[in-house]
């Protein structure tokens, strides 16, 4: 099986879907002539032309809304946000239009659109460019929210997102664009709303998504050496959330740690922690732990920025806490 990077996997997904369906367009800042700020869209302008790969001015509200209008009128746009940080300029369009038009119109309109771009901290980018904004999007009914952790899932989920009849927020990760993984040449889809058990174990359930999944697996390897068997669940989709897989695992292990690189207050991590506490109350042998980023804006200094985020050590320590070790 070919081994390719995350960015190549995402590009393949867009390429295949654009090939398959003429209604699929890509628009955003630098997606065309520049070949993408992170080179995810490399080569697509040459292949599909400027009617389908559309460079926009730096006006996130404008081009995000334009994409939504095109979707309501019958196209299937992919809007690339250079980073999710910039999507805050466009958030009215997502909150007020993409997520609500179907409901407000009594089901008359569908809004098949994907908003994608890197989310969460990278390195040395400072407070405004390092935000993990999943809580903001996961909060809204009417959206699907996806955040894969491997090239394989990235491709399969992006293809599903493009084919979905609903607005999908597709969150990537800057540091993960160069990660490599096996991606088959034959076509496949990964369904939205299905978590994956990345590693089976009987002692503790470790739940997360996106870039931290790699840390979770590393922590599990480390803990294995101490005789602790950790079950690692990659949510892959945040909305809809695969609650069944989560609860089945916690009912087996009786202990749970949730990892989320966003801030703790009202985060996806704390919400999942609450769901587990409520729905697996009788099965739990310890309170649920949540490993979030620290509750501070991201500092520029590298040691400080690493200290602000979840880490293998922090995750391993949380696992030990729920085992009372």
């Amino acid at each position: 099986m070919p081994v390719i990077t995350f960015r190549e996997a995402l590009r393949q997904a867009m390429d295949e879907e654009m090939e398959r369906d003429e209604d699929v367009l890509l628009l955003g800042e630098e997606v065309g002539q520049y070949n993408g700020a992170y080179k995810v869209s490399q080569g697509l302008l040459d292949k599909y032309g400027e009617l389908r790969v559309i460079d926009t001015p730096i006006t996130e509200e404008g081009f995000t809304g334009l994409g939504i209008g095109a979707a309501l009128a019958g196209l299937r746009p992919i809007v690339e946000w250079m980073t999710l940080n910039f999507s805050l300029m466009a958030i009215d369009q997502i909150y007020s239009n993409a997520s609500k038009t179907r409901y407000m119109s009594g089901g008359q309109f569908t809004c098949p659109i994907v908003f994608r771009g890197p989310n969460g901290p990278a390195e040395f980018l400072g407070a405004q460019h390092s935000q993990a904004l999943q809580s903001i999007y996961a909060h809204v009914p009417g959206l699907k929210v996806v955040s894969p952790s491997t090239p394989y899932d990235g491709k399969g989920l992006l293809k599903s997102a493009i084919r979905d009849e609903n607005p999908v927020i597709f969150m990537e990760s800057e540091l993960a664009y160069g990660w490599k993984g096996e991606v088959p040449t034959e076509e496949y889809l990964v369904p939205i709303g299905v978590a994956e058990i990345k590693r089976e174990g009987g002692d503790v359930t470790l739940i997360g998504f996106s870039k931290p999944v790699k840390m979770m697996l590393e922590a599990a390897e480390e803990l294995e050496k101490e005789g602790i068997n950790v079950e690692v669940i990659d949510l892959r989709s945040i909305r809809p959330l695969d609650e069944e897989t989560i609860y089945a695992s916690v009912r087996k292990t009786n202990r749970c740690v949730v990892v989320d690189e966003a801030w703790p207050f009202a985060s996806v991590g704390t919400h999942v922690g609450w769901l587990v506490s409520k729905n697996c109350f009788d099965d739990l042998d310890a309170p649920v732990e949540v490993v979030n980023s620290e509750d501070v804006p991201m500092p520029y200094n590298h040691s400080l920025e690493l200290a602000a985020q979840p880490s293998v050590d922090k995750i391993a320590a949380a696992v030990k806490r729920v085992l009372y070790l």
Binding site: T56, E61, G106
Partner: protein, 332 residues
């Protein structure tokens, strides 16, 4: 405003049936909204209810110039008139105001969210200026599919300073989108006179920074609106480019039902009442011998009856079932 034309002048430019439709649609909107206001007072309708009374010539004169098989309409929250002018059923529009299951949005949209996919009416948007980028996306679809439709994008003088407007003007120009921006300047963004919050008083210059031609139009004269918009629509249909219009108009009622409109004088209101778009058209038609007082009264009675019937329909309609709460959040 509203210069008198002779019968032969009107007849040369306007089909008699069309002029008759102008009158009927404007009176329908007026009587419908008066009824809605009355029912609001009786608490049959709740929440925000922004009436369009005084502005009828704009929606009617522009939407009647469209072909809604291929053209599109999108507007802000003062949307009852646009819905009716698009041909939406008054019963279903009133039922939506009542929040009933028979409403255009099954009672889940309300006053600010009148939609009709079949008639290409895309709402009804409650956030000032939020619909403007959406309109550009619809125009993008038209251009991408090489259709010859046009999008009419309405917004008020309050929306014109939003970033969404300026961003979209630029996008429309660089992508040559078939869109007509229609700013309905009714003098007040909620309670604030537009002159207190605008660097320019003549909005038609707003397009200049984006190389989009702009024009000020007397929005109280339906025939002028129709004439200007017909020409513009033809132009945009043929050449796929954006245009901008400022419609000078006036609303007689407050911003919404809860607004007593104490920010303006009685004299100002009276002065505009003399420029009532329905009275202007009526006078033009009566003077031109195209309409008699009796005919006018007959139409007016008919529209009052339609409005009463719409209220009765809404009143008798079912509430949405509790199951409707979770319906249409996501598409299957």
């Amino acid at each position: 405003m509203g210069k008198v034309q002779t019968k032969s002048e009107i007849g040369k430019e306007f089909d008699k049936d069309l002029v008759n439709r102008f009158l009927r649609e404007m009176i329908l909107i007026r009587r419908f909204e008066e009824k809605a206001g009355q029912m609001y007072g009786l608490r049959k309708i709740g929440g925000f209810c922004h009436l369009y009374i005084g502005q009828e010539a704009v929606a009617v004169g522009s939407i009647l110039a469209l072909d809604l098989k291929k053209d599109y309409v999108i507007t802000g929250y003062r949307d009852h008139a646009h819905a009716l002018a698009c041909g939406m059923d008054p019963n279903a529009v009133m039922a939506e105001l009542y929040g009933k299951s028979t409403g255009v949005s099954k009672g889940k949209g309300g006053s600010m969210h009148m939609y009709d996919a079949e008639r290409h009416m895309l709402g009804g948007n409650g956030i000032v200026g939020s619909q403007i980028p959406i309109a550009a996306g619809v125009a993008m679809k038209i251009r991408y599919r090489k259709e010859d439709g046009v999008v009419l994008c309405y917004f008020g003088d309050g929306a014109i300073h939003q970033g969404a407007f300026h961003e979209t003007m630029n996008l429309a120009k660089i992508y040559n989108l078939p869109i007509i921006f229609v700013c309905e300047n009714n003098h007040y963004g909620m309670g604030t006179d537009y002159k207190r919050v605008s660097a320019v008083y003549d909005f038609s210059v707003m397009g200049a920074a984006y190389d989009i031609p702009g024009k000020q139009v007397d929005g109280m004269d339906v025939m002028t609106v129709y004439k200007e918009m017909s020409g513009a629509i033809e132009d945009v249909r043929r050449n796929s480019h954006p245009l901008f219009f400022e419609m000078k108009t006036y609303r007689y009622r407050g911003h919404s039902m809860s607004d007593p409109a104490q920010y303006r004088t009685k004299e100002e209101l009276e002065q505009y009442r003399e420029q009532d778009p329905i009275l202007i058209l009526k006078k033009q038609l009566v003077d031109g011998k195209l309409l008699t007082e009796e005919q006018y009264k007959k139409i007016d009675d008919e529209m009052k009856q339609l409005s009463n019937k719409a209220a009765a329909f809404a009143d008798e309609s079912e509430e949405p079932s509790p199951d409707a709460l979770y319906e249409d959040v996501l598409a299957e």
